[in-house]
């Protein structure tokens, strides 16, 4: 077989995306995204988080301690805390952390802790091997050195790791909007799946997969905000572009809400069960 080095391929995809970006918005981006993201993750009573939790029913129980990397607005903190002993959320964005606290208060959730840092800056030796499950959802695309970060996740776990990756594609309307605004510029590739699966498998892990389907609902205002922040990474958002985004969102909205169907792959594996790297 044509031998694929999945790490190299990952880096290539990462670099290609960076080339399209006109600026790296940093953590500030997530501060600005906190409001729309919180709304979308709260859709249908945390449907996304609940479906991931359900996929992991074989490996989670009321004694489990969980580390959540890139916790966002409490995507997992809220539904998981109700089932496990404790969940520790790593989240560098102050605004996201604010949403976690607010959402947790609203749901009466108290068995969580927040580490307000970037994952890469956390020293693993302080944490390992403390957790039964180390989980990360749609965060890894931000890491240039994928295997290094996956190995650090494993070092923090005494039983299982889980990576939830987006497994959807750009829908037709979104592609149209991209090219309307960006012209011929190749749309950025955020796909983590199935590459992460192939990488883990080639490294001798035995990962399981559950495909989940979920809804994300945002107010029109939040969806416009989301789209604008997204495009700001690639282009200066002029009043004309703003108008295109508004038209796009309004055309797809119903009853003041913008609904999207999402698909994700829940990949989980036992960190103690590995084989020699496949040659």
């Amino acid at each position: 077989m044509q031998k694929v080095d999945w790490e190299v391929l990952w880096k290539k995809i990462y670099e290609e995306r960076k080339k399209v970006e006109s600026k790296d918005p940093g953590i500030e981006y997530w501060d600005k995204r906190a409001e729309d993201f919180s709304e979308s993750r709260r859709t249908n009573d945390y449907e996304y988080g609940r479906k991931v939790l359900k996929a992991l029913y074989e490996i989670i129980n009321s004694d489990s301690e969980v580390l959540d990397i890139g916790a966002g607005p409490g995507t997992f903190v809220i539904p998981f805390a109700k089932k496990v002993k404790k969940i520790t959320a790593v989240e560098p964005s102050k605004e996201m952390v604010g949403r976690i606290r607010k959402n947790a208060q609203e749901e009466g959730v108290e068995n969580f802790e927040i580490i307000s840092k970037v994952w890469q800056e956390i020293s693993i030796s302080d944490h390992a091997p403390k957790y039964n499950l180390v989980i990360s959802s749609i965060v890894l695309w931000m890491f240039e050195n994928i295997w290094e970060e996956l190995e650090r996740m494993e070092q923090a776990s005494k039983e299982y790791c889980c990576v939830v990756t987006g497994a959807g594609e750009w829908n037709g309307e979104e592609q149209k909007l991209w090219h309307k605004i960006m012209g011929d510029v190749q749309k950025p590739d955020y796909s983590e799946f199935p590459l992460i699966y192939n990488l883990l498998y080639s490294k001798g892990r035995y990962p399981n997969v559950d495909i989940i389907h979920y809804d994300s609902v945002r107010s029109i205002e939040n969806k416009i905000r989301h789209r604008k922040l997204f495009f700001e990474k690639y282009i200066e958002v002029t009043p004309d572009i703003e108008q295109m985004i508004e038209d796009h969102v309004l055309a797809k909205s119903k009853g003041g809400k913008y609904r999207e169907e999402g698909r994700a792959a829940v990949i989980w594996w036992n960190v103690q069960e590995t084989e020699e790297e496949v040659k």
Partner: protein
């Protein structure tokens, strides 16, 4: 950018020769040792596949299940004990005889056998007829896997599933070297996983431990027949095989632990 490999084309290239030397005649000869393996292992992998579908809350008592290349009933028998009906497709008549005998021994009456190759079954007759279609340890016999995939989806009104060895050729590697043969070694699971993905099918995956147990005679017979696909075993080969089997046996039982993967998807939700 992830589409840098055409997995389906590679699969075809790598299975075309091995599938040719493993026809119905071969499986007729293998029936005896294979049936011994399945029974001595107490239907280990079939039971585990069934348990995965039970735990995923998929398997229902009213299910009709299709088992492609059923052999001596490795999967058909454990499923027949839990569902309404199993239809077993098996081209090798000697395998069918074992399947019928094994079912009778366990008082199972809800298995229907179709003594044909899966490729020769007219899928139009079975349009959306099954709740679950299982293809276990058999996919490598179909070089045109994409076409078979479409046919599996067509006869299913619920789920389809592949069950395969994971990195399964590793355990055989040592023996192949000793015998000086070099069959195409292919990790069926990871190919199928990517083939499905490239066809727009996102499969669920469970990887699990299985145990193969068989009598010493069954293991010797398996190795001699495996070798005969490539050349007639001579005395020296037979000695190598005997030594390997006895070295790996305890109380007359040859035992190997390995891993299998089950991949399943909703036929209705796939793009085909």
């Amino acid at each position: 950018m992830q589409d840098i490999i055409n997995w389906e084309r590679e699969w075809e290239e790598k299975t075309i020769d091995t599938s040719k030397v493993s026809g119905t005649d071969y499986w007729n000869k293998r029936a005896e040792d294979y049936a011994n393996y399945i029974k001595t292992s107490d239907y280990n992998h079939g039971r585990k596949i069934r348990a995965i579908f039970e735990n995923a809350d998929i398997l229902k008592p009213e299910f009709e299940v299709l088992d492609i290349a059923a052999g001596p009933g490795s999967v058909s028998i454990p499923f027949a004990e839990a569902v309404n009906k199993v239809t077993s497709i098996e081209p090798a008549i000697e395998m069918v005889k074992h399947l019928i005998k094994n079912a009778q021994e366990r008082g199972i009456e809800n298995i229907e056998v179709i003594n044909k190759k899966w490729e020769e079954v007219n899928e139009a007759e079975f349009e959306k007829k099954f709740d679950l279609v299982v293809c276990s340890h058999a996919s490598w016999q179909f070089p045109n896997i994409g076409e078979q995939l479409i046919r599996m989806n067509r006869v299913s009104r619920g789920y389809c599933c592949f069950a395969n060895g994971v990195k399964s050729n590793d355990e055989f590697g040592e023996m192949y070297r000793k015998l000086g043969i070099n069959p195409e070694s292919l990790d069926h699971f990871i190919y199928l996983f990517n083939i499905l993905y490239q066809r727009g099918i996102l499969a669920n995956v469970r990887i699990f431990d299985v145990v193969m147990r068989r009598s010493v005679n069954s293991a010797i017979s398996m190795w001699e027949l495996l070798l005969s696909k490539y050349r007639e075993p001579v005395d020296r080969d037979k000695e190598i095989i005997r030594k390997h089997v006895y070295d790996n046996s305890d109380n007359g039982i040859y035992e190997k632990k390995s891993k299998m993967a089950v991949m399943w998807w909703k036929a209705a939700a796939s793009n085909n």
